[in-house]
């Protein structure tokens, strides 16, 4: 990075987040202390505690499910246009409190403020806005003239996009007339609880949305609860499989959005500068904590060296540091546990013979940090080519022909997303047709929109979120 033009710190103020010392659970329209453990949620950039959260107990789960059940018929019985108005209110309220939510998200999650401000929060508001408009148009959605909700939805979401994942779950469920019991991730409860505050201020009838912070035990209690009719889970494939097994005998409806090991495929005729941007965004956006991250670069062998050199040059301009600094590109890893996993896998890459490279990167003393890392000389039969790392680590492989690129891209149990970089339109469509992935990005990457269905093939899960298709998971068959 240039010494001539240093950027002075441009920090967002943490006080905008209006942190409280204690956060509770939200059941039946009111906030109260959960009867589970009181846990301190920590700022991963500094390891400082942010607030204490009184987590839910099994009894709290019972209360929440009962409240959701009681609210279920009245909510489903309301005209869709009334449900729509509540959802529009929530969307507008998120927009009004956008800055507060963005700062809170960065404090709790560790992601750069620029991302929470420019991606997470606006997209969450847009999700509510989009699904609000479906609430009174369900007969047009292609699921029959009078589709009915399922009932009570139990929803478990991950720590990588805490507010956005809450929006992806709550909005379609409510639009279709379901009620919700939602568990945010253990390390990132704050924006979900603040969303509950917003929901309460919007006068949503009590019990329609319930938010229960807690750990895996709370999640399991929701999944197993006989009063829950439908489970929606976003998280790791390993846990997704456990959930699928748990509900197998129960008759509960299930949708899963799990892990990925996406191939980002660059042809020799790609718009190279934009392809470099796309690869960088694909794996380093959100510190690589993205299920659909382009974690495998498949570059056409003829341009490998030139492309990797351009990638290195570009990575040298990435800024790693304080998530609240508006100029930060790479924030903190969400937890010590996740950092340990990333380190273990990166070390395995070296052990299995790949070449490791990172730009010069000063890591802060406190907090959980990992520098952007690129492995070249990666063989398909290595852990860093096969396993989801969920961190800022890119594995570079090569291919010679389009067919070989398809073969390598599809050669994984995962199937969430893929990227194609070429200026040739027919090749984009030919490749897209053959890639076994639920989302294909051509000449772009990591684009999300409430109108656009998102979800995976194979072990990346089933069901789609977003778009007209996103209604299906919440409608009775």
């Amino acid at each position: 990075m240039s010494k001539l033009f240093e950027y002075a710190p441009a920090p967002e103020s943490p006080s905008i987040a209006r942190l409280k010392p204690h956060y509770g659970i939200f059941v039946d329209g009111t906030f109260r202390a959960g009867r589970g453990e009181a846990v301190k949620t920590v700022n991963p950039a500094t390891e400082e505690p942010l607030a204490e959260v009184a987590e839910a107990s099994a009894a709290d789960v019972d209360d929440a499910v009962a409240a959701a059940r009681a609210a279920s018929e009245p909510w489903a019985g309301l005209p869709g246009s009334v449900r729509a108005k509540y959802l529009f209110r929530i969307a507008r309220a998120i927009q009004e409190r956008a800055r507060e939510l963005a700062v809170l998200e960065s404090l709790d999650n560790g992601k750069p403020i620029r991302e929470s401000r420019d991606v997470d929060v606006p997209t969450a508001a847009a999700h509510f806005f989009y699904y609000a408009g479906w609430a009174d148009k369900l007969g047009y959605a292609g699921f029959g003239p009078n589709p009915r909700p399922i009932g009570v939805a139990g929803q478990v979401i991950p720590w990588n996009f805490p507010l956005l994942m809450a929006a992806w779950k709550i909005a379609p469920a409510l639009a279709t007339g379901n009620t919700v019991v939602l568990k945010p991730a253990e390390t990132t409860p704050l924006t979900a609880i603040t969303l509950a505050e917003i929901i309460a201020e919007c006068d949503l009838p009590p019990g329609v949305v319930n938010v229960l912070p807690g750990g895996p035990a709370v999640g399991q209690a929701i999944v197993d609860h006989p009063g829950v009719d439908k489970i929606a889970f976003t998280g790791s494939t390993a846990v997704g499989k456990m959930i699928q097994k748990s509900v197998a005998a129960s008759g509960k409806r299930l949708s899963l959005e799990l892990g990925g090991k996406a191939a980002n495929i660059v042809f020799d005729d790609a718009a190279l500068d934009q392809a470099v941007e796309g690869i960088v965004n694909g794996i380093f956006f959100n510190q690589g904590h993205v299920c659909c991250a382009g974690s495998r670069l498949l570059v056409q062998e003829s341009i490998h060296d030139e492309f990797v050199a351009a990638l290195h040059d570009r990575l040298a301009t990435l800024r790693l540091g304080d998530p609240l600094d508006k100029n930060t590109d790479i924030g903190a890893i969400n937890s010590a546990a996740q950092l340990a996993r990333i380190r273990e896998l990166a070390d395995s890459g070296v052990a299995e013979g790949a070449d490791r490279w990172s730009p010069e990167c000063a890591l802060p003393e406190r907090g959980f940090w990992f520098p952007p890392t690129v492995f070249t000389g990666v063989s398909p039969a290595t852990r860093i080519a096969r396993e989801e790392i969920f961190g800022p680590v890119l594995s570079v492989l090569t291919f010679r022909t389009p067919g070989e690129a398809i073969e390598k891209a599809n050669n994984t149990p995962y199937g969430l997303s893929a990227g194609i970089w070429t200026e040739k339109g027919s090749r984009i469509l030919w490749m897209a047709n053959r890639l076994r992935a639920g989302v294909v990005w051509a000449n772009t990457f990591n684009r999300f929109d409430p109108t656009s269905p998102f979800g995976g093939y194979k072990e990346s899960g089933f069901g789609r979120e977003g778009g007209r298709h996103g209604l299906e998971a919440y409608l009775a068959h």
Partner: protein
């Protein structure tokens, strides 16, 4: 020169007259063209009265030149409005609903005066109009998912159809309803990305003017909607024959009068939407359906080969 009744002129029946002697600031009702509120270039106005003969106000009496300017403004605004994202259009239309809600009592007073009705039914009509507007705001980013899609052609081609806005839609609003019907004919054209030139109900134009004021304060780009008040029989033929108008909505024209207008519209092959009296019999309550969204939509189909 109409004689002014002794009672305060703009207070509708049923509303208590304020005890104070405050002299009200009376509103001037103008046209809405290109985002601005001009008087008619002809300088004309006409009296608008309640059914019991009370003078409510004078409205601008639009001329064919005003209509010509309105079409120019609509065409100018069409590019930006149709190219805005559906999300952005939805946000703006929802904002218009927020502005309408803020003026709920004002609208109700104007509707009650126009219909000679009590305030209760007028409020109900206003609420229905706002809710209908919200229903249409929610369509902007969904219509393409219903009306478009990929077509599985028998060959190595990717083929998809997309709904696009037709362009400038000329509307003759229903003549017997001050607000709800007006909303019902205008909102779907806007939601699908068209720009609009609308002639309001001749005898009940005032709520439409207030709605234009709400639009002007809600980020709706100037020219996306243009409102003309005045004589429908004078203006409709000019709208029907205008070659830079792409579609014509004759909902507000009685069937016998429609024929000449539809014939004029044929000159540039306008898309003419003319619901039958049976269609209109249920009024504008209940779910609108998608016919009005489809009426002003063009479908574009694109082919592209799939090959390495």
């Amino acid at each position: 020169m109409p004689t002014k009744p002794a009672a305060a002129k703009t207070k509708p029946a049923g509303k208590k007259t304020a005890e104070s002697d405050r002299v009200a600031v009376r509103k001037t009702y103008k046209l809405y063209i290109g985002g601005a509120f001009p008087r008619s270039e002809s300088g004309r106005s006409y009296p608008v009265s309640s059914p019991d003969g009370r003078l409510l106000a004078h409205a601008a009496q639009a001329s064919r030149k005003d209509l010509r300017e309105a079409v120019v403004a609509a065409r100018k605004a069409f590019g930006g409005w149709s190219r805005a994202t559906a999300y952005n259009r939805g946000q703006i239309l929802y904002r218009i609903a927020e502005m309408m809600e803020g003026r709920r009592e004002q609208f109700a007073a104007e509707v009650a005066a126009a219909d000679g009705a009590a305030i209760g039914p007028a409020l109900a009509e206003v609420d229905a109009a706002i809710d209908r507007w919200v229903w249409y705001a929610g369509w902007t980013d969904k219509w393409a998912q219903i009306a478009g899609g990929s077509n599985p052609v028998a060959g190595p081609y990717f083929n998809f159809s997309l709904p696009e806005p037709a362009g400038v839609v000329g509307v003759i609003a229903p003549q017997d309803s001050a607000l709800l019907a007006f909303v019902s004919v205008v909102a779907p054209a806007l939601a699908t990305g068209n720009s609009v030139v609308v002639v309001a109900a001749a005898d009940k134009p005032l709520p439409a003017v207030s709605l234009s004021e709400a639009m002007a304060t809600s980020d709706l780009p100037g020219g996306v909607l243009n409102l003309l008040t005045g004589s429908v029989s004078e203006l409709a033929p000019w709208l029907a024959s205008h070659r830079d108008v792409n579609c014509l909505d004759l909902t507000g024209v009685a069937p016998p009068e429609r024929v000449a207008l539809a014939e004029a519209a044929a000159d540039n092959v306008k898309r003419v939407y003319a619901p039958s009296p049976a269609d209109l019999a249920q009024g504008f309550t209940g779910e609108p359906g998608t016919a009005r969204l489809a009426a002003f939509t063009e479908t574009k189909t694109v082919w592209h080969p799939m090959g390495v």
